[in-house]
Symmetry: C2
Subunit: 441 residues, 2 copies
């Protein structure tokens, strides 16, 4: 099975655990069978591999998420990087071209597209496999998954099937309705449109040619910024006559708010937290080292991260977005391909950052124009390359880098360091990357 996972979102709704560069799919809150917390991305990836060990997984995403994906999945999934945000049609067209030109998938091979963040059981991925098989053998150009509705939701679009058989033709699409309208649709046998569908690779390449003049992956990539912002549903699905829907009857949840997310949590507390016995319906998700103490609370979610602290009535939590939009703050933590960083203190011409590198990784070789930096190694060992000169580094070593001086560090073991940035204009944009042959050092 070829599967394209659409990984988008700015993640404001799960603030403070999500931020401008960590979307909700990267938050580690699901305990796996080994008792280790994993993210939605990791959970979905492992579920796909369990359902189909041969599956090729391609993640369609923005540049901002590439580091976090590498951090969480290593190099086990391919990534189709969107140079900028367009809508779902350009993203799916680009990822499909990536499968054809870069991964060398055959033009008749079926491709399944689904969002990266459904909270589902393993049977869902077996259904994706059936969807893929159906797309491969069917006369239909597009085979959608239709999810049997659990309640008359106003949050989803609906698919009206021609009849109630397992796989049938689509008779109509309906936009997100009112609850009353949704109820009416459901009585007519409507299914939720979860944005999951399959097609033969050739089909979307042809559509891409029709709509964008597609020549090759490289061509599409280079012209990506010029493409119209248009959804796949609007550009393709709603115009297609040869279109089928396959029913899916099983658990399917979109964990987009703190309210729905905490429902899926197995424990009341993740991280350092205490609930007194007068609490009920309280969840604590604490990514800080210090404890959260909750006393006498009911149906409340508490979440703390280096970005901030949320304390919200669970129902109210779905109205979070405008408040988070009003908070102007730089990104305080991020997962990178080489590990992660966390801002410990900021302001007054200085920034203090804790940097953790995984064994065997290294940052880009880079310099800054407007700030000096100091590193103090606090654990592990490795090699620093400073202005072209190699230096072995161990715990306690101090490395100073003036503005303009190119530098990197190669972690030979797990390695942590404190980075102190000093300058009047400290900005993530102030970074110049250099090519370097790491093997030479």
């Amino acid at each position: 099975m070829n599967i394209i996972l659409l990984s988008g979102g700015s993640g404001k709704r799960l603030w403070p655990l999500s931020n401008d560069i960590r979307s909700k799919q990267f938050i580690k809150i699901f305990k796996n069978e080994e008792g280790v917390y994993e993210s939605m991305l990791q959970r979905v990836y492992h579920q796909i591999k369990k359902a189909d060990p041969e599956a090729t997984v391609t993640i369609a995403t923005s540049r901002a998420q590439v580091s976090a994906i590498h951090n969480q999945l290593g190099n086990s999934a391919s990534i189709s990087v969107e140079p900028c945000r367009r809508d779902t049609f350009p993203a799916i067209a680009l990822a499909t071209a990536y499968l054809a030109d870069i991964m060398h998938a055959g033009l008749d091979e079926p491709v399944v597209v689904c969002p990266v963040d459904p909270y589902v059981e393993d049977e869902y991925f077996k259904a994706l496999k059936k969807l893929s098989v159906q797309a491969g053998k069917s006369e239909a150009n597009l085979v959608l998954m239709g999810i049997e509705p659990a309640y008359p939701s106003e949050k989803y679009g609906y698919i009206i099937p021609e009849d109630s058989s397992q796989t049938t033709r689509v008779s109509a699409f309906k936009e997100k309705p009112s609850a009353a309208m949704a109820e009416k649709y459901i009585k007519q046998g409507a299914l939720w449109n979860g944005g999951v569908f399959a097609y033969k690779l050739r089909y979307v390449l042809d559509k891409a040619y029709d709509l964008t003049g597609y020549k090759s992956y490289q061509d599409l990539f280079e012209r990506y910024g010029e493409l119209d912002k248009i959804s796949f549903d609007y550009a393709v699905a709603e115009k297609e006559d040869k279109i089928q829907v396959m029913r899916f009857h099983g658990k399917w949840k979109d964990l987009g708010t703190w309210n729905t997310l905490t429902e899926a949590m197995e424990e009341d507390i993740i991280g350092n937290g205490i609930l007194n016995d007068q609490c009920s319906g309280v969840h604590i998700i604490n990514e800080m080292d210090v404890p959260v103490l909750a006393m006498g609370l009911h149906d409340i979610v508490i979440s703390a991260s280096p970005e901030g602290i949320l304390v919200s009535d669970k129902e109210q939590s779905s109205y979070i977005k405008p408040f988070v939009d009003s908070i102007e703050q730089q990104v305080m933590f991020a997962e990178k391909s080489w590990g992660n960083f966390r801002v410990l203190d900021v302001g007054n011409g200085a920034m203090i950052i804790k940097v953790s590198l995984k064994k065997g990784t290294s940052m880009n070789y880079h310099s800054h124009e407007h700030r000096d930096e100091v590193w103090i190694v606090t654990s592990g060992s490795g090699k620093a390359v400073i202005d072209g000169t190699r230096k072995d580094v161990h715990v306690g070593d101090v490395i100073t880098m003036g503005a303009g001086c190119p530098h990197t560090i190669i972690a030979e073991t797990e390695l942590t360091l404190v980075e102190v940035q000093i300058g009047k204009e400290i900005s993530v944009q102030d970074k110049r990357k250099f090519k370097i042959d790491m093997d030479a050092f």
Copy 2:
């Protein structure tokens, strides 16, 4: 007026703003007339000076609080330092001896003793002045303040006066009663015992001689650890026949819990916080740089500091102590005479601390046996003295100090630095202080 302020308390009840070394009286939550937040200590000190500009204020406290008092009051109050914790009688005896021997107060001068943390209006301090005058002229050895009860509290002891006149003899003391019993006392005209009283200096020195064999302040100070733990009420007041009580009718609050403390706050939010319009009765006290967002909450207090995060129903907050006792954690911030420090990160053989010095101050000249340290100056300028050698330091300078190397810094302007401690055994106990003539550098 000579006034002794008793400053005690471990401060667990106002966690996370109080900790093992910052008691509740040091928390800055009261906005003064200039709009600046001040602590209970600062508020009470300024109220005393307003009521009596000539007042000499002596704070009886433990060694642990000396730095914080200097930080908040400079050198404007005298400090009688208790070498270890005994009960109120030894503390009051020592402070009285301090007044006699160090401050050279006369033996017939009246002394007023009161706790450092009552939340009261200015009239209270006018009443203290009257108490002082009464103790100076009265035949009684001890004049207590009796506070007219606002409700039948179980939290206070009661004083039964002989009659209802403004100043009268004490007929009996009553221990903290049940609410029903308290109601009965109040019907008999009982007054709250707020631990406020006045005496002639000689009186307590005589008692100290009787009970401890007191010779001088120095003698009492040196033998302090051998003294019995005994309260002033038990050792003196309850045995005294020549004892009067003066009624006080005015606002008097003991802000010992989050519930009572937030009642005294003028604003809903101190620090970086947002309340949505579905909140009522919510208070945020946030000492962190990052925002607290509260949504849909009622009658809840949220407090965040480098020690941790509390979210509590206001009534429940009075049961906080056992939970805080269960939290094992080092002190994460402290006010020192020279400024303050805050632990930014701890663990894995390293500790990262942000140190802020006030202009013109300096730390002790000291060394550590089991850890190396690195300083990076992030703002301001000054002089470092490292192993006897002076070095001018400016923003961006890095100073490394191996284990055993004595060091200090003298802040010529306001100065901040990052201190990185590296060692297998990092402990506040690992500190050796050296004498140094700062003027020589």
